[in-house]
Assembly symmetry: C2
Homo-oligomer: 334 residues x 2
C-alpha cells in the first residue's frame, strides 16, 4: 500500500496535522519535529495523495492542450514551450490530439471536464459554437493558440498572418518575381487561410501584380496534397517563377513536384514556406520561410491561461507574437 500521511505521522510520532504543516508551512513547526517528519517522509517515500488534495483545493493542477495533428511538426515546438511553462507554473500537462475530428475533440473536452483540468489551450482549430458552449458549460477557462474568435471574447495568442504572408510575398516581389503563385489552406475550417491569402493579395496589389490573384491552389495540411496542388497550379500556370506556400510542408511538396519535373529550385522557381519548422533547415534546398516563434507561443499561451485562471482577466485579449522572414536556399533573384 502507498504510505499515507498517517504512516508518516506514526513513524515521526506526531499528529497528521503536524505532518501536513511540515509540507505546507514548515516555519510553523519546531525544528526537532520537522526533521523527524522530513526523515519519515524520505524513508517512506511519501507522496501526498493528489485525489485527497484535489478534493480540498478543487484544483487538479493540470492543464489541457488540444491539438489537431500531432504528426504535424508545427505542434512539437508548441508542446515544448507549453510544457516548460507548465513546469514553471507548477502544473502538469495533458495533451490530446484530435486528428481534426469533431467528435473526438468533444469527447476530449468531456475527459478534461471529468479529470477537472484547470484550464485548456485550444490550438489551431476553428472555435465552433458547439465547442465554445460546451467549454463554457463545463466552466473550464481556455485560451486560443494560433487561432482566435470573432464571435466570442476569448484570449488568444497568434501571429499576424496577414502581415506575415505580405512579407513573404513582398520578399519575392523585391527579388524581381512577377509571376507568383500560392498554395494556401482551404478556407472552410481554417483560421489562418483567409488572412494569409489577403496578405498575398495586398502585396500583389501594391506592386501592380494583381494578375496573379487567382493563381492559387489550396491543400489540406499534408505534403501529398501540396504535391498534387502544385501539379494543378503549374499545369494551369506554367509561367510561374515563384510560389508562396502557407506551410513548410507545402513548400516541400511543391519542391518535390518541381524536382520530379526537372525544374530547378531556386534556379528556375523560388519557393517560400511558412512556420520555420525544424525540417526547413534540413531540407534540400533549405527553405526560405516565415518563422513563427512556436516555442514562445506555447509558453505564452500557458502563461496567459494561467493569468486568466487566477485573476479572471487578461491584460491583452488578443496577443500578437512577431514573425520573421528567414532567407535560405529555396529563393533567388529573378
Amino acid at each position: 500500500m502507498k504510505p499515507t500521511i498517517r504512516d508518516v505521522a506514526k513513524m515521526a510520532e506526531v499528529s497528521i496535522s503536524t505532518v501536513s504543516r511540515v509540507m505546507n508551512a514548515p516555519e510553523s513547526v519546531i525544528e526537532s519535529k520537522r526533521v523527524r517528519v522530513l526523515e519519515a517522509i524520505e524513508k517512506l517515500q511519501y507522496q501526498p495523495n493528489s485525489f485527497a488534495r484535489g478534493l480540498i483545493y478543487k484544483k487538479s493542477f493540470t492543464l489541457g492542450l488540444l491539438i489537431p495533428d500531432i504528426e504535424n511538426f508545427y505542434y512539437t515546438g508548441i508542446i515544448r514551450g507549453m510544457q516548460d511553462a507548465c513546469i514553471k507554473l507548477g502544473y502538469s500537462l495533458m495533451i490530446c490530439n484530435t486528428d481534426r475530428d469533431k467528435n473526438r475533440l468533444l469527447s476530449y473536452i468531456d475527459a478534461f471536464h471529468e479529470k477537472q483540468v484547470d484550464g485548456i489551450v485550444f490550438a489551431s482549430d476553428v472555435m465552433f459554437p458547439e465547442y465554445y458552449e460546451k467549454l463554457v458549460r463545463c466552466r473550464i477557462p481556455f485560451v486560443l493558440l494560433s487561432t482566435h474568435s470573432d464571435e466570442y471574447d476569448v484570449p488568444s495568442v497568434e501571429i499576424d498572418d496577414e502581415a506575415a504572408a505580405y512579407d513573404a510575398v513582398k520578399f519575392l516581389i523585391d527579388l524581381g518575381h512577377e509571376d507568383i503563385g500560392m498554395i494556401g489552406f482551404n478556407h472552410e475550417n481554417s483560421i489562418s487561410g483567409p488572412p494569409r491569402y489577403q496578405g498575398f493579395i495586398r502585396a500583389l496589389s501594391e506592386a501592380g501584380l494583381e494578375h496573379n490573384g487567382n493563381k492559387v491552389k489550396n491543400a489540406t495540411h499534408r505534403f501529398e496534397h501540396a504535391y498534387h496542388a502544385a501539379h494543378e497550379l503549374f499545369t494551369e500556370h506554367p509561367e510561374l517563377t515563384a510560389v508562396f506556400c502557407v506551410a513548410d510542408e507545402f513548400a516541400m511538396g511543391v519542391i518535390s513536384y518541381l524536382k520530379d519535373r526537372n525544374v530547378l529550385v531556386p534556379g528556375q522557381v523560388s519557393v517560400v514556406g511558412f512556420d520555420n519548422l525544424r525540417v526547413a533547415n534540413m531540407f534540400i534546398p533549405k527553405l526560405t520561410t516565415i518563422a513563427q516563434p512556436m516555442y514562445d507561443m506555447g509558453y505564452r499561451a500557458a502563461e496567459k491561461l494561467h493569468e486568466w485562471m487566477t485573476t479572471g482577466s487578461v491584460e491583452v485579449l488578443r496577443e500578437r507574437m512577431s514573425h520573421k522572414l528567414i532567407v535560405r536556399e529555396s529563393s533567388r533573384q529573378r
Copy 2:
C-alpha cells in the same frame, strides 16, 4: 459551484446512496425514483467528482508516457498509437518530454506518482537503476518501449535492432557495395546503438568485408551532429560508396553533407536510413530505410501495460515487432 451528488439527491428527493446507485447499478433502484434522479442529473448538468472517485477506487484511469525528445519525429507515431489504445481502454494519456534530462525524468516520475497514474510507458531511454528503483518504490507498473533491460525483468516492446541493421547493410552489400560506412549512436546511454552496430558487423563478416568494421562515426540524435559525423567519416574514408545510418535524421544529415560537397546521392554514394519517419518520404531523394511500426508499437505498449496492470503478468515479456526494408531513392546498384 459545481453541483454535487447532494444537490442531485435533494432535487430528486432521495438519499445520496440512491443517486450513486442510479449511476453505478441502475437496475437496483425502482423506476419512479430512477427517472427523478436522471432528470435531476440532467437539469443540474451533474458530473461526478473524479477526485472523490479516485480516493475510493485508488485509480486515476490515466497512463503516463515518457519520451526523450518530442521534437524527434519518431515519437509522434508512437504517441498516436498509444493515444488510440488509451481511448479503446478507457484511459487518459499524460505525455512527458524529458529532453534527455535525467533530473527532469526523475521529477516527471514524481509527478506521475503524485497524480497517481496507473501505469507508465517508458520510451527509448536506458533503464538506469535509479529510474528502475524509483519506479518500483513508487509501485507504478511500467513497460519499456524501443528499449529493454538486461538487468531487470520488465515487459518491453521493440524491434530486433541487430537484425534490422543487418538487413539494411546486407541490402547495400547485395547492391554491390564494398566500401560501406556507418553513422551510429554513441554507445553510452544508448540501447539500440550496440545491436545496430553488431548487425552492421555481422553483415560485413558474412560477406568478407570486415575491413569496413571501423568506418563508423557516432552522432547524438540530431541532424547537425550527423552532418558533422559525415564530414569526419568521408574525410577519413573518401573511398566509401555507401553509408548505413541508424536514424533517418542522420541519413538526411549525411545526404546534406554530400550535397554540399557535390557528391551525388544515390549517384555516387548510397545512403540507408532507419525508422521510416514521415519525412523519409518527403526528403529529396526519398530515403531508403528500415521501417519501424511506430504506431503499432505505441498501441501495443499501451495494451501490454494494461495487461500488466490488470493481470499482474504478461504473456510475452519481451515482445518483438517486425521491421521492414523500404527501398526508395537514396540507394542504388554500385
